[in-house]
Symmetry: C2
Subunit: 444 residues, 2 copies
């Protein structure tokens, strides 16, 4: 990966081919479950963006020629805000439940010195329903996320799962019901990040929330419940605590999702309850989950998501849309897999076959030959520069084009050609008239 | 198509599915010729953008939180400038000739009241060589452009072709060699647009270039040469005029491209010489071409391109890259084809089959069934909301999902299910164990 402008990475051709192949295969996964593509403009109204984002990370846009005019538009910083705005705009013309995916870049006004990406791809899938949505969709989304990562041959990973109502209900119990929302959310955010700071620092920060020593002990053991073993054991420990209604609802929802996950084949080895998981984004209201590599903890989250009770709450109030979604961080994940040699970038061409041109008098014959291969579904490049055969073959092997077609006047007039496999050096003579299955079999 | 922010159109789900299908099929065409994907960031340095663009159309970006800081980045307004910058950056790690395609949005700071798009997709293909590039690539690019438009079932169209050296050589002859470049380019631009203004207005503007009445008559007959008939006749008329070296080079180049086009099967009915064609972009230096519908002239250009002698001239001076490229205006073209009913948007789902759920006790069986269909390559949605069967089938037909699977306890326990074709109302009973070719045949 290369970077010409700090924060805006780009790929060399061989890496780009791999990145796009993966993007296409993820798209196939989404569509195999009936998710449909969505593609909103990169630009939204600043007021829409600010409803969920903060101004230090948002890029505004302006016409160079009128720098001083009133500015009202900016670039999206995620794909959820545009999704919410889209649903609020067109729900009357949509059929629910609506399953959408979007694989597209987003922009964040990071300070370049932090080494963070200022443009990166997000890869989102969501299902939304009117008023209500079955928890079976939570299980389906996690199953699909798992399938995609398995297909990527990603190293072993685990998806941690929780329900925000459990943590929130518990915290209300120990902090007090009156100190609602803001304080609770702040405390949840701190807990979510506890693995990134020292133990001392964590407990010092916790004390700022006015939690008594006794309650701190309770919190400690609550956050360690998930070390007790299987999801079943964890649920069996959590359930009788019966703190308050919110807590109990959270437990029941989580229990339902865990049972559905089992039904789609995701046992404990794939999905584990984590009582401290909250996810940073405050619009999640129920199920939350996050996927990490088992042995590469420093890579951080490679995917995650959750359920939200009211997608369009800050944009449009006349209807309620309940959804569940997940996102895969492909801009971070794929370069990591390339770096570690898990994904190889050996080709800098999409072509499988290079038709070399030895005799320019027959240019049209070579070009027509290429077309015959294309009709058979073989991606074929014709080498059209005026260079000796050796350079043409060198070009093919440099670009990772596996096969070359070699033919001079004698062969062409006899409707024959040689196909050489550059990896094995095997050669086959083919008949170029009425090419069919026997030619195709060479390319397997 | 819908527009929430003026100039930033977006599609409803059924249109988006069609747009993406077409984008994918264009990509397949590009790759079948060995073009490789390129994907540069949306953002470039403003100085790079200004090397070929003008500040009234370029969008700069700024972090909302520091509106008053120095601004140095902006959004690309085409895909050629980023391509040039990319090649100038990484040519040492690339193999030439390099064939790339890029299908991506660009942004233009148009005043919204003009009703123009401020974001639209460009769909570019280019081949570049070091120092030189065979004219056979010009023919290949035009051939590929033609194939793509044919595959789209676009109404009859013609590609007009010219060589800028011919027009420029001719104008130097009648305006004078001294009044080089700027004036000639301005005059070429006027000629290129002559069909868009009145005849009187055109000749009045021409007189501003200091062209004598005698020369104006010459120009008139020169611009009408292409009415004389076949490309062969036109070339035969133009060739002996022998105005100057530039003109003669242009004629020879055009002759070569026309002959190569014939070799790849593009006769006069596809490609026609137009002596007034120049294309607006000044970086074209040789071949230029433009594709228009024969009967829908008001749609304007649907594709076009040309050859440039020095891609990176304004960015990096140490190497010369010669290229030829074309662009298809899909953001304008596809909505036109939808509007005219040439392309139908009947589905708002990617799924071919909806597995209905009649008995939630068997949720996991239904979900596993869906997975079996997915493994056979059938895009399958499971209906997971708790609704009566009738609503579930209604959902499928509303979204254009052609098949539904219906099974209740009795069928499931017997490893059977019913597949109903919602278009023909035909039903088939299938065995759900070891599904294979016989099930697959239902979906054809």
């Amino acid at each position: 990966m290369k970077t010409k402008i700090s924060g805006f990475p780009e790929f060399l051709p061989n890496e780009q081919i791999v990145f796009n192949t993966i993007k296409d295969s993820i798209k196939e996964h989404f569509e195999s479950y009936g998710f449909i593509p969505m593609d909103t403009p990169a630009v939204e109204r600043i007021e829409t963006l600010l409803s969920k984002g903060n101004d230090s990370e948002i890029y505004g846009i302006y016409r160079l020629a009128d720098n001083n005019s009133k500015k009202s538009l900016g670039l999206r910083f995620d794909l959820t805000v545009p999704f919410a705005r889209y649903v609020a705009s067109y729900y009357g013309e949509m059929t629910f439940p609506h399953k959408r995916y979007q694989i597209a870049p987003v922009w964040r006004g990071e300070r370049p010195q932090f080494g963070r990406y200022r443009q990166f791809y997000q890869c989102d899938m969501d299902v939304i329903g009117e008023e209500s949505l079955s928890f079976a969709y939570d299980a389906e989304i996690i199953k699909l996320l798992t399938e995609i990562l398995q297909d990527l041959k990603a190293p072993d990973f685990t998806t941690y799962i929780n329900n925000r109502k459990i943590l929130s209900g518990f915290l209300k119990q120990i902090i007090g019901e009156k100190d609602v929302d803001d304080k609770i959310i702040e405390c949840m955010r701190l807990i979510d990040k506890m693995d990134k700071i020292s133990v001392d620092e964590f407990w010092k920060s916790i004390s700022n929330f006015g939690i008594s020593d006794e309650n701190a002990t309770k919190l400690k053991s609550f956050l360690e419940v998930d070390k007790r073993g299987s999801n079943e054991v964890i649920l069996r420990t959590l359930k009788p605590l019966n703190f308050n209604e919110e807590y109990n609802t959270g437990i029941n929802e989580l229990e339902e999702v865990i049972s559905l996950l089992k039904k789609v084949g995701l046992e404990d080895s794939y999905v584990k309850i984590s009582t401290k998981l909250a996810r940073g984004l405050s619009y999640y209201t129920s199920t939350v989950f996050e996927t990490v590599f088992n042995d590469l903890k420093n890579v951080g989250s490679i995917g995650g998501g959750g359920r939200y009770d009211d997608l369009t709450s800050k944009i449009s109030a006349d209807k309620k849309f309940v959804g569940v979604g997940a996102s895969i961080g492909i801009s971070r994940l794929i370069p990591k897999l390339i770096e570690r040699g898990i994904i190889k970038c050996e080709k800098s061409s999409t072509a499988q076959l290079l038709v070399t041109v030895q005799n320019r008098k027959f240019l049209s014959t070579y070009m027509k030959l290429s077309n015959s291969f294309r009709r058979l579904g073989i991606k074929t490049e014709t080498y059209l520069q005026d260079k000796p055969l050796g350079s043409q073959i060198g070009y093919a092997s440099k670009k990772g084009i596996k096969y070359v077609l070699i033919a001079n006047e004698v062969e062409l007039l006899d409707n024959k050609a040689i196909i050489r496999n550059l990896e094995t050096r095997e050669q086959s003579v083919i008949r170029t008239k009425f090419m069919g299955a026997e030619v195709l079999s060479l390319f397997r």
